[in-house]
Amino acid sequence: MKSLAWGAAVVSLLALIALAFSIGSFAVAPADVLAILWSSIAGGAHAAPPNAEAVVLSIRGPRILAALLVGAALAGAGSAYQSVFRNPLVAPDILGVSSGAALGALLGIWFSLDPWSVHLLAFAGGLGAVALVYALAAAYRQHDPLLLLVLAGVVLGSLFAALIALIKVLADPFNQLPGMTYWLLGSLAAVTPDESLAILPAIGIGLGVLWLLRWRINVLSMGDEEARSLGVDTRRVRLAAIVAATLATAAAVSISGVIGWVGLVVPHLARMITGPDNSRLLPAACLLGAAFMLAVDTLARGWGQTELPLGVLTALIGTPLFLWLLATSRRGWQ
């Protein structure tokens, strides 16, 4: 029964991927999508029109891969953060990874750097922000470590927000500000094949380490003192989980821009289905996050002439979904 449910989830995701390949301003028949993908994997010719091949392989393919990776990374990291912080309302941004990445990206745009440098600055900004928050919290040893981390994250997050606002004021309103605004709202519209492949290692390593730590993170979610009395070095496990989740999130955000809600709502939804055990929760959150992100991104580019920013769409969909979750069930956490 359980493997049947996992199988059904994977098949639905594959169906969604096929759908995402065929939807868009240039419609491609699902049969042509399959033929093109098959010939690119197995070699040989296909009967689909040549411009359909370009759309599927160089435009939609990378974008779909990026959406799947970004969604899995945000939701997987979110589920780990929620366990580590013992709080179902925590998202991966709590330690400042998103605002740090945004600051890095906006600096890059402000200095008119090339796209790769902007991505790298965003990635470094995300990692650097969390490192700063962690170091700040670790400097005060006598207090509750979780509370300090969250407080340091909130304080530095608001500092970054102020710096971001400052850069937006100083930026060229015609050449730079639109790019900054789009980055802050999140988009996969300009993703290239190289970019979607570049984030794969960091997201793979991050989620892989979380998967290896899944049982330790379960014990950690019982509370710091209990976990320590059970023989867990909570400081090290927590640090490892934060580093791994931050690595995946920073890589995702560095090409997608700031996308809220996925890391908060999707793990919550996954926990309602699987319960709190990370050996089921983590893969479920990744699958669901990938599917949610792909669906939202397909909607963003498929609904009409103008692309909708992803951050706006995830909030528009995420808010009612979250309110509904709160009203109908508390099974996931209490």
Partner: protein, 255 residues
């Protein structure tokens, strides 16, 4: 393996709760801590377990200094049954008990079938195997306390420290926990145990420590330490100790 401390000072941060405490719990021995609310029993326990840094003195586990041992090494020697909290996430009881095996597993490892067997045995020993599939957050406070005790049994440590295990239990479960503690002691486990009920100490403790603000007032064999004057002084109310008619069992009553 004996848990012992010498001239121990304990407290939170710069605030010292008690000092000059010397205790020892040997295998097969039941040592009971009696004292009023806010007297620092939990703080003392957390310090003995290495969860709070000692402010002075030394704590030894067998031949080793507590400070020299890793968390896993400490957990293989001392198990802790905290006062039952609500829990945060709705893990199944079986999973909670399994977490008692964490000290035997590497950072990237999950429980093996042998660990699962330990957990099932621990549940069976406390007669709560029927709770295995229940959610830890949904069972009663008393059941939760028994589950945490089962987790400590799964931890298979030679010393178990219990923080007021009877506080949430109905009368039947209190009697059951008392019986389990006696049995564990017979099997060679050392028990260090805080309780609000002096009767529990009279019923099954080998030694008693009277704990109040400032530290341990008195520590010694139960018969020597627990008397009407000492208890009245400790709790600030008049207390008498009577023999039950027709036996030598002693109980504690308000005068």
């Amino acid at each position: 393996m004996t848990l012992s401390c010498d001239a121990l000072a304990y407290g939170y941060g710069r605030h010292t709760v008690g000092s000059g405490v010397s205790l020892a719990v040997a295998p097969g021995e039941v040592a009971c801590l009696l004292g009023p609310n806010g007297g620092g029993k939990t703080t003392l326990f957390k310090t003995l377990l290495g969860l709070l840094p000692a402010q002075g003195g030394s704590i030894r586990l067998g031949n080793d200094n507590l400070a020299d041992l890793s968390r896993a090494e400490v957990a293989r020697r001392v198990a802790y049954v905290p006062q039952a909290a609500g829990g945060y996430f709705p893990f199944h009881v079986r999973e909670v008990v399994l977490m008692g095996r964490a000290a035997y597993l590497g950072a990237f490892a999950g429980p093996t079938p042998r660990d699962r067997q330990h957990a099932e045995n621990a549940l069976a020993r406390l007669g709560i195997a029927h709770l295995a599939d229940a959610q830890f957050t949904r069972i009663s406070g008393g059941e939760r306390q028994l589950v945490l005790l089962a987790r400590a049994l799964a931890q298979a440590a030679p010393i178990i420290v219990l923080d007021e295990p009877g506080a949430n239990l109905d009368f039947g479960n209190q009697v059951r926990v008392l019986a389990v503690i006696r049995r564990l002691a017979v099997e060679g486990v050392g028990i260090l145990w805080a309780t609000h009920a002096p009767d529990h100490a009279l019923a099954c403790a080998d030694r008693v420590a009277l704990v109040a603000r400032g530290g341990v007032k008195n520590y010694g064999a139960t018969a020597e330490v627990v008397n009407a004057d000492a208890l009245s002084d400790l709790y600030g109310v008049a207390i008498e100790i009577r023999n039950l008619a027709g036996g030598d069992r002693r109980v504690c009553v308000a005068a």
